[in-house]
Amino acid sequence: MITSAKSYARLGVVAAVAALSGSLIPAAFSQGTPTIRIDGSSTVFPITEAIAEAFQKAEGGKVRVTVGVSGTGGGFKKFCRGETDISNASRPILAKEIADCRAAGITFIELPVAYDAITVVVNPQNNWARNLTVAELKNIWGPDSKINNWSQVREGFPNIPLKLFGPGADSGTYDYFTEAINGKAKVSRRDFTASEDDNVLVQGVSRDRGALGYFGFAYFMENRNRVRAVAIDNGKGPVQPSEQNVLNGTYQPLSRPIFIYVNAKSAQRPEVRRFVTYYLNNAPATVKKVKYVALPARAYRTILANFNRNRVGTVFGGKEAIGLTINELLKMQPQ
């Protein structure tokens, strides 16, 4: 017997003491450097990340920004417990979340930062479905839908099996699409290939001639050679998803605003004020870079003015709003 366990036991004791002495430091230890904590939607993340990065550089490291991705719902949970200063959200705050925030004494300022166009895509070899009406989409995606062939979608479509791809039930895109097309959030047929990773959906649609799927505009823009977008007909003729059609309000009902929510108390802190101002001033370029649709410059000015006069509350009253154009959105007042 050469090695003795005693030396290891001693090591263990040292480690335990080290761990304990560490935990004696108060948990509310602050980093010294002011830190802006952000969490929430993965859809909004690329914008906030790019802004946070540029902002930290512009401030010369005097302010720290952290961004987490726990989804819109998960983000609001933290936000309404006062753990974050800003929450990324791909949908308006819901009634339940408003109640949670109120219970914790948290008021918030709602700031739209960009538009996303949920894009319905098909395989590039699909030469029949150039456009689809909202009613046809509802027939396809409705909860009781039995449609499994293109010939059932519209008279004259070929006899080719229809394969459906869509985001998983935890995604804000799924919530919005089901609300906009089927009339109720989270109500949809279940027999489609679902993935939280939109790249999987792109791959699925690009490999099957009869495939149909939907996801955020950015994923379509990055994969234009692999999938083709379908124009959406909402009764006024087919409209292609594009920046222009989102801005002029014709790409309906699949255009949706995305937001950041700022804790009104945090908004009093100078570094948070500077960050939000920086966010809205630099949003047009950044939003374009990550392939979302930027609002017009005057819209950002209005939104910044709303922030500066501390306009708390939500204009949606805790409900998802479908088919809002930018102008309508900006005219709405908190109820």
């Binding site: 017997m1 366990a5 080290a18 948990a27 990065e53």
Partner: protein, 315 residues
Amino acid sequence: MPSQQKILNTLRNPIAIAASIQNRKRWEQFFIVLGWFSLLVALLTLVFLVSDLFLRGLPMLNWKFFTSPPSSDPEEAGILTAWVGSLLVIFVTAVVAIPLGIAAGIYLEEYAPKNWLLDFIEVNITNLAGVPSIIYGLLALGFFVYILKWGESILTAGFTLALLILPVVIVTTRESLRAIPQGIREAAYAVGSSRWQMIADHVLPYSMGGILTGIIVGISRAIGETAPLITIGALTFITFLPEPPIQSEFPYISFKWIWAPFTVLPIQMFNWVSRPQEAFQVNAAAAGIILLVLTLAVNGTAIYLRYRFRKSIKW
């Protein structure tokens, strides 16, 4: 009996014996081929996955990738905060789980009275080893983050993963101890050892190889975990590092880093994989290589230690 008769007939007939042997040899050949095939399937899958990862990720692997924080520009983005976070979290995990797990294993195997309570605990520990990791994340969120108010820190993450791998460490510790022949214990008692002396000087060192294997399995699992860490609030975008543990001024050692916010490699990787831009997929592959190398390095250390232990034991 006819069957007996048949065997006897065969035994009397040399041609039948040869045929029977031939037949068995064929079966053996068949099984060897089947074994090789199974091995090949497993190995080829691994080789394919790893080479795909390397082919995609290698061009991105350079010093800058190691030393840059994440960025919205795929060219600029790096994994500095991610690998530092992963290492620190794993360090806390190891410091918590290894002593606790080994101690619990020793107690259960060597000290605890064998009764229904022990059986009950044993069943539960074995079950815990199979509980999905997200459950540990929820437990940690409730206990470490809300009740103990440790916040979304490296400490919380380390303890969460420690809880996750504790069952594995306990179970393997017990199995390794059980594998030590009873004679060793009796011999130690015979020369007047106390129970603790018997364990500390004999049984534990002899079983260290097996225990380390359990620790390797546990730590490897912990390095790759994402779900429980996202639950307790690991970040995705963080550009600053925790305060270094070694300081230039007195008292030279600082534990402030355990309270720091963090991200880890698998989260960084997942974020990149789910981005629309192709360039981020390359980053994800590169981060995957690092994660693989990190896991191998941690395991390599443990395997080396195990080798040293095994070598030093001479019965």
